[in-house]
Symmetry: C2
Subunit: 400 residues, 2 copies
């Protein structure tokens, strides 16, 4: 996923990622991305549920789903969040400047930002920056790569996933890139993801496909459970011809979900200070919603996360975290595995050799914690990371 | 509260706190407490809501509220949690051994444990330990002090609160002590509290008073949000004569709440690795429940907690944490203060001098973060602590 040599670039898209000057202290570091569809595209998006939503979220939310989107403008290092009426005007202006370059209406351009919150955007950098980015728009992988890097903040790696699938005898390409979830000093965590495809999909179908994909991917990761003001996932589909329906649409939706999962896992794996990617699998619950609630509660337990950091197969923490998820069960209905090691069976701890299991944790960066209930057929897969001293250091450093 | 020279010991109670041998590696460290009422006492209790409840919780839960309790037996260092049917039998046996010493039925004795989970109690230590403790029972402050220390685990200080109040011309004494919330290695967090009074209160009224007291105290603290298998708060009232009713009962309930608040704050202040006690005040919400939900969400945000540790007045984190509590509001309806410093007014950040505010945080161990909404008259006061590298170190150290 990370070392892909050849990306599947959807037809009719062009990209740019440049340094426009937002990162004044880091000359040359990319801070502005453009994603452009040469023809009107169906656009779908899902946004943070936080009551405190950043200006670009408020602006973009009004513009999707739509049938004639032409592009997305993204800036990193300044989130344009909690900036009041001026922030809204600035987000609109970013889109308007982009629309001028593309020769379209400003409503056809979506906008996203990530970075420090509570500071006004220095709008003058976009007056030259957006035309400069438009000037280097290209359909090459190298340009897409530039764009995928221009959206990053404290990420240590870029997150990209792409695939070509054959739907009804026609090849469809799907490309996605994401950033997050990381935060330093006064910054906010933000998760941004952008998916592009040359499939033909009606706006409402696209919105449904994205919503389903996100529910099983980005809504199944947690670094520390703090919901950002800026989280946004966009999906543009610019295919010509008859929109997908029925089984073809379902195949497309599955591919969207696959790309979303790749990106979500990559975000959890790159979480600040983490030393383990932890997959939480819950099965046999009454329904998927209860499985999700248990998985999320376990994933957000500081005691579970520090246990992994400490290479401690602490089934007491693992079991008791499930116990306070608000889902009724009896201990006898639960069995827990770490990898293939059974820690707890039907309400009682299993005899394990602690040093051996601890060594197993130390030796594996990727670990799976599996909960099996005897209540039904619900399930959920969730990704999280361990909680380390480095996370605390990164998030408590005082920066003006 | 901590340096009280003279405790208000309720009439008719005796205490003991001894080393019975559970802490084999720490000779002399107290690990067994007895709290005894010389006459039958009304007993009330509230317990963890975790679906995975420890054996002593399961046993005590069946025995309250009741009118004829005689005592509570408490052991520390072993939580008797996740120990199956044998654990239940062992908890009953702890109570039975105590009942033999007191000459009462075993149902008249309540039981609590805290410490490592998933290990069977070495029951033989109680065969001699409980008679030995019974043998030194005393109504002195020194004995109560011994008991208050015998329940501690990783606490760095004992937590005690007591008061005498005059109700209807009669003096009533109320004494409480607590332990928690701290956990190391494979141990569980546990919050235990014991309140004793010589007021006369009917069991159901006692239960109501305790429930109300706990809702505004122990249910308003959070260290890291992981709910223990063993949390228990007990209240014994052994007064003779006509039980309190009406206004006198309300005065008594207020005193119970006061003691509960003292103990709850002491627990938050003693949280592992913490450098700040943070009071979250929410006011002007639609109702108290919504205020509690917002306060709890803020208190459990790792980003809020690390901001305090980093002396960073990060109103973006403070505001956005409130935004994902699941309570509807508009940013314009919120103003936030840190102490007397207004950080955010009606949806917009206030100009502050960051170094000055940062210095203010560094200089004060106790800080108040206040949220004022313009939605109604709901309110909540909640206590939490900051999140530090030391917390991670304490909770990730691998211990067999």
């Amino acid at each position: 996923m990370f070392s892909m040599n050849s990306w599947h670039i959807p037809d009719g898209f062009r990209f740019a990622g440049i340094h426009c000057g937002l990162r004044a202290a880091e000359p040359g570091r990319r801070d502005l991305a453009l994603i452009v569809s040469d023809r009107p595209a169906s656009a779908a998006a899902v946004f943070t549920q936080n009551r405190v939503a950043a200006a670009p979220v408020r602006v973009s939310r009004e513009r999707v789903p739509r049938a004639d989107a032409r592009g997305i403008v993204v800036c990193s290092s300044n989130a344009n969040a909690c900036t009041g009426a001026q922030g809204i005007a600035d987000a609109r202006q970013m889109a308007a400047l982009t629309a001028t370059e593309l020769g379209c209406a400003e409503e056809q351009v979506l906008v996203a930002s990530t970075g420090v919150i509570g500071r006004m955007l220095p709008m003058q950098v976009f007056e030259t920056g957006i035309p400069a980015a438009a000037n280097v728009l290209s359909a090459t992988q190298s340009s897409a790569d530039d764009a995928s890097q221009a959206i990053l903040t404290t990420d240590t790696v870029k997150k990209v996933s792409s695939r070509s699938i054959s739907i009804g005898g026609r090849t469809v390409r799907l490309l996605g890139f994401a950033k997050g979830a990381a935060m330093i000093g006064p910054n906010m965590a933000t998760m941004l993801a952008f998916l592009m495809t040359d499939a033909a999909v009606a706006p409402n179908d696209l919105q449904s496909a994205l919503k389903r994909g996100v529910d099983r991917s980005f809504n199944c990761i947690s670094v520390e459970g703090h919901m950002s003001t800026n989280d946004s996932v966009f999906l543009l589909a610019n295919g010509a011809g008859t929109p997908l329906t029925g089984e073809a649409l379902a195949e497309f939706a599955a591919a969207v979900q696959g790309v979303c999962k790749d990106l979500a896992k990559a975000i959890a794996a790159d979480a600040e200070g983490s030393t383990h990617l932890i997959t939480i699998e819950v099965e046999g619950s009454r329904n998927d919603a209860e499985a999700h609630r248990i998985a999320k509660t376990v994933a957000e337990s500081a005691l579970v996360k520090t246990a992994f950091y400490g290479a401690d197969p602490n089934w007491g923490r693992f079991v008791s975290a499930a116990g306070y998820a608000g889902v009724p069960f009896e201990e006898e209905q639960l069995t827990v595995w770490l990898g293939d090691i059974e820690l707890y069976r039907n309400g009682a701890p299993m005899p394990i050799d602690l040093p051996t299991v601890s060594a197993f944790i130390k030796q594996h960066r990727d670990l799976t914690l599996r909960y099996r209930f005897t209540l039904g057929t619900g399930s959920c897969t969730f990704w999280t990371c361990d909680l380390t001293e480095e996370y605390i250091r990164l998030n408590s450093e005082y920066t003006t």
